[in-house]
């Protein structure tokens, strides 16, 4: 019992540290990646390669004053940033970093992540609504309809995955993919559309986390800063960290469901390093996408979901069901 308590506390601290460190250093990675894509250098003054920049940024954010504008809903306004961060951290609980490195190996881990992920949109909605700012309200409305539209194909894809794997336990799903030919992205025996399913999942997780090219919520050229227009100091900081934490969650799930999690592609040395390698490759792709494409238009975004992603994921669901029945 005692060791179990220590384990929980250690993981709790570890997860929060992991989430915060990731948020901080993904900002660094984002800035460096963007800079080199744009043939600049990026942060370079603070520490070697600007590695201390996130720390300095964090200190700056923390020392700023939290401004509460007139006419905002004081409770919701303060609550929203916390609400953006907490579900993201909670979702880390069930991510299997390696066979043993998992805070809680819950049987319904997959379900739990999606439950918490849907709280995230509530934070945007509340933050935007409570701000008493027209830009923020428009942004909140956009974020909600976007999330609703993309939750559907994402969940259909996940249902397909659950049908194939037969479990909601993330560690078991990883265990089913011992080498590269067994990874679900290449498991053509389950459904010939598996790479497409991965793509749908990846696109949806981009949209769910409001990342470019689906960053309509913060479309800075239209809505200034969207739902966090009125936030300053760590209020803004938490939204910011929440966004990066959500990216990590989204990419982790993609790695777990499709790319074999902590498994070695050749089945030799499975471990946490494989997980992190795959995770950061995916995250780099997210950053790479952001700095390549313009933002989608609102109807384009919804059309993509309703006219392409949902029909295709539905088709994949039926196809998979058929394959399961036949083979």
């Amino acid at each position: 019992m005692d060791s179990e308590l220590i384990r929980v506390i250690a993981f709790l601290v570890g997860i929060i540290a992991f989430a915060a460190l990731n948020a901080a250093y993904l900002v660094w990675l984002e800035r460096k990646g963007a800079a080199h894509i744009q043939r600049r250098i990026g942060p370079k003054e603070v520490g070697p390669f600007g590695l201390l920049q996130p720390m300095v940024d964090g200190i700056k954010l923390m020392t700023k004053q939290i401004l509460i504008p007139d006419g905002v809903d004081p409770v919701l306004f303060r609550l929203a940033p916390i609400l953006a961060m907490v579900p993201a951290i909670m979702s880390f609980v069930t991510i299997p970093f390696s066979e043993t490195l998992v805070a809680r190996n819950i049987n319904v881990g997959l379900l739990m992540i999606f439950a918490f992920a849907s709280v995230n949109v509530l934070a945007l909605l509340l933050g935007g609504w409570a701000s008493n700012n027209k830009y923020a309200v428009i942004s909140a409305a956009r974020a909600v309809s976007q999330n609703i539209a993309y939750e559907i194909p994402m969940l259909i894809t996940v249902i397909t995955m659950v049908m194939i794997t037969g479990t909601l336990n993330l560690n078991e799903i990883v265990a089913q993919q011992p080498n590269i030919s067994q990874w679900y992205i290449f498991r053509f025996s389950a459904s010939p559309l598996m790479p497409v399913a991965f793509l749908i999942f990846f696109i949806c997780s981009l949209a769910e986390t409001n990342r470019a090219p689906f960053d309509l919520g913060e479309a800075e050229s239209e809505l200034v800063a969207g739902f966090h227009t009125e936030y300053s100091s760590m209020g803004f900081g938490l939204f910011f960290m929440g966004e990066y934490a959500n990216i990590v969650i989204g990419c982790s799930l993609a790695v777990v469901l499709f790319l074999g999690g902590w498994q070695d592609p050749f089945g030799l040395y499975p471990g946490v390093w494989w997980f992190l390698l795959k995770l950061y490759l995916l995250i780099f792709t997210v950053i790479w996408i952001r700095w390549t494409f313009p933002r989608t238009q609102f109807y384009g975004l919804l059309n993509l979901s309703w006219k392409i992603l949902i029909p295709v994921s539905m088709f994949n669901l039926l196809l998979t069901a058929g394959f399961l029945k036949v083979f």
């Binding site: 990646g33 600049r40 250098i41 790479w288 996408i289």
Partner: protein
């Protein structure tokens, strides 16, 4: 139906093409100049604020004709001179340039017949007060000579 799939594929292909371009650019060397550590050399025609041209003895060539004053669209030049023994015309005593109003058009340089003024290469001026940009060019020349 065919158009629907065609659009999906051409669209997806265009995205891949875009991503291949940015990743290719990423491998190329950076093009920015790290300013305080390295600075490009100003071209020979670069127009900084004006300065007095030194003659062989380090003095100035100004004859205080006032053409620069009159040609200046923003009236930012004031020239004062006095009669001195042994000098034809007047000798320059003060050349005041109000750089806060100068638009670097070069009308003064063009109108100067003896060629007493030219553009300097100062581009990194910085200051917090307006007064820091009101130059006495004669003093500046004397300081340069030291």
């Amino acid at each position: 139906m065919g158009a629907y799939f065609k659009e999906i594929f051409t669209g997806f292909w265009s995205l891949l093409v875009g991503m291949s371009i940015t990743i290719r650019e990423m491998t190329k060397p950076v093009v920015t100049e790290q300013y305080p550590y390295e600075a490009s050399v100003m071209t020979s025609r670069f127009r900084g604020h004006i300065e007095l041209v030194p003659n062989e003895e380090g003095g100035n060539k100004c004859i205080v004709c006032g053409m620069c004053m009159r040609s200046c669209p923003s009236a930012c030049i004031t020239v004062e001179g006095e009669k001195r023994e042994g000098i034809k015309g007047k000798a320059l005593t003060r050349y005041r340039l109000d750089f806060t109003r100068c638009s670097l058009c070069g009308m003064c340089v063009e109108s100067c017949r003896p060629g007493a003024i030219r553009f300097s290469k100062d581009y990194n001026l910085a200051g917090t007060k307006k007064a820091a940009y009101i130059f006495d060019l004669l003093k500046r020349l004397e300081e340069q000579n030291k």
